[in-house]
Amino acid sequence: MTAATRSLRQVATVGRIVIPLLVIFLIVAPVATVLVAQAIGPWLISVLNSNIGILRFVVAITAILLFSIPAAFIIIYMELKVIAYMNLRVGPNRVLPAGAAHSVVAGLKVLTKEDFTPNSADRLVFTWAPVLVFLTAVMTFMVVPFGPGLVGAPLNIGLLYLFAVGGMTVVGLLLAGWSSFNKYSLLGGLRSAAQVVSYEIPLTLSVVGLILLAGSMSIDSIARQQSGWVWDWFVFRQPLGALIFFIAGVAEANRTPFDLTEADSEIVAGFATEYSGMRFGFLFFAEYVNVFIMSALIVTLFFGAWNAPVDVNWLLHLVGVGPLSIAFDPGQLGGNLVALAAVVPLVVTLVLAAPFYLLRPEKPVWQSLLIGFLLLNLLLVGVLGLSAYVDWDWVAGLIWFMVKAFAFVFVFVWMRGTFPRVRIDQLMGFAWKWLLPASLLNLFATALAIILLKSAGIN
């Protein structure tokens, strides 16, 4: 009828789909959004405001679930690569440079495998046990502070929650071992029950001294008390406690030399013997998430949480500069901002590309320009990161926390590459004969020191 419909009839099939979609996205959607915001916006905001706790919880749990998977991938990759290097091997090297995506591909492989259930297994329990194991591992993340304010649920009994939920892992392992209808699985499940329950006690007791010292069970508060220099970290006030916590933590995470639950040379794969496909993947992931949580906890409780080892402000004060802050508001530039945004990248790109062009005149120009552009991007990322580090303390905290946590993950992997496994009686004997008395000793010594110091009037 009109020119518009006639011209629309002439476009190809793809265009007939794409053009209306474009119209919807570019015109209809913004208009609708504005209208909806006008109509129900205030009401929606008031609802969200009054339920801020729930909103926060949903956002936090989503973020943690999304974070736990790549964290596990990175740790698995680290385990493969670090142990390989210690074995004088090269390790994964085919997927991406240095095999960086190896664990991701392995995860995809696990997804595509047959999900097998043994004939005589208890189907319900067999199906849900890995879920329980993974769930408890992820739930512990909720109270781990990744940075100042970056915590899923800032409970003031965070430590208590942590041990309570962390102890639930053993239920999942026991269920997995029992429901598989396999003697190896059963042995593995029972071993893990005995082991985790035994090591839970020194693990908890070793922290009690720290709680006395910190006067709080809130992980956030414990973290804040360690700010300042390296020697403000709790590891220097509780060295025995830290050692016991580390050893018991290794046992809690079922890692070498305490990996009896899945001792491959004795009971094949322990509780995971009959699992395959993604159910095995859950058990596998949970193990590595546990490793990360243990390192995160050690860092949080004893190694200064998110705090940098150096008191930067004190140093700056020494030089005579106040607290650094980039108080730069782009808005104040006004119209100049547009000019800057148009000119600066171009100029910087040309400047960065110039040396490459001058040094290699035989190569085409666009190569040098491309290199200059990439360098510009790197520069921008660096500048933005630096400003974020200086300006927002949660970024700085997150970086320090991750560095420290992955350093401890490296230690876990390093131990796996070095040590043989202990025997079950030695394992139990060590927990009850050495760690438990030592942690009690640590507790009494701390309490005594606090009383003495208090009575002496110091602090």
């Binding site: 290097y85 004088l88 091997r89 090297n93 390093w414 131990m415 590459g417 040590f419």
Partner: protein
């Protein structure tokens, strides 16, 4: 064990950490090939000429020369008489099903296989005795064995080889290269129709085809 408890663990970790930074021993196969000794003897393989034809003529000389008889040969002999199989039958495609059936213990109807059966070897021993077990007199011995049995059974050839010490390849090669020696009983041709019976459906089809084609001419 060291005097300070835990010191051994720490030293072990020190060793692994130092190995962490050392050069690695891995060969990045297939980009990098292993350093193979010139004397390395790997798998045997047959060569092809520039036209893509197999160079092997099944002359058995390699098999004769091999000190431990590790070379196997399979195929038709030069006179196209029958399949020669040395070594495990399943390495040769055409005999695979047959061999599988045989290994499963089921009876296999195979006229050619009868030649491998054990036979009364007294005649062979007499011939050998008469020639003092001397492999130099191979041809007369083979002739006399053929006279005794009417043909050369494989079991007889094996007995001849074992007792006289001549390589089987040598005995077999001699037996196949003379036209007056035969390795199949003279009655094999007569047994062929019996083999047809195993393929009754096919025989019936052939008969009907024959009738359809030659019916007009015959009638």
């Amino acid at each position: 064990m060291t005097t300070i408890p835990g010191m051994g663990l720490v030293r072990g970790m020190g060793l692994t950490l130092s190995r962490f930074f050392q050069p690695k021993a891995t060969i990045m196969w297939p980009e990098q090939q292993a350093d193979v000794a010139p004397k390395f003897r790997g798998r045997l393989q047959l060569l092809y000429d520039e036209y893509g034809t197999l160079k092997c003529e099944t002359c058995f000389q390699c098999a004769q020369a091999c000190p431990i008889e590790c070379i196997d040969m399979g195929g038709m002999d030069t006179r196209g008489r029958f399949h020669v199989h040395w070594g495990p039958a399943e390495t040769y495609g055409e005999r695979r099903e047959e061999s599988a059936a045989r290994r499963s213990g089921r009876p296999v109807a195979d006229a050619t296989f009868d030649r491998f059966d054990a036979i009364d070897l007294a005649a062979v021993d007499e011939v050998l005795d008469a020639h003092d077990y001397d492999p130099k007199a191979l041809l007369p011995m083979l002739e006399q064995i053929q006279a005794a049995y009417g043909y050369l059974p494989v079991a007889a050839l094996k007995q001849l080889s074992r007792k006289s010490g001549a390589w089987y390849a040598y005995v077999y090669g001699s037996a196949t290269s003379y036209r007056h020696l035969r390795l199949e009983p003279p009655t094999v041709a007569a047994a062929a129709p019996a083999g047809e019976a195993h393929r009754a459906a096919e025989a019936g089809y052939l008969a009907s085809l024959d009738a359809a084609l030659s019916g007009k001419a015959g009638a």
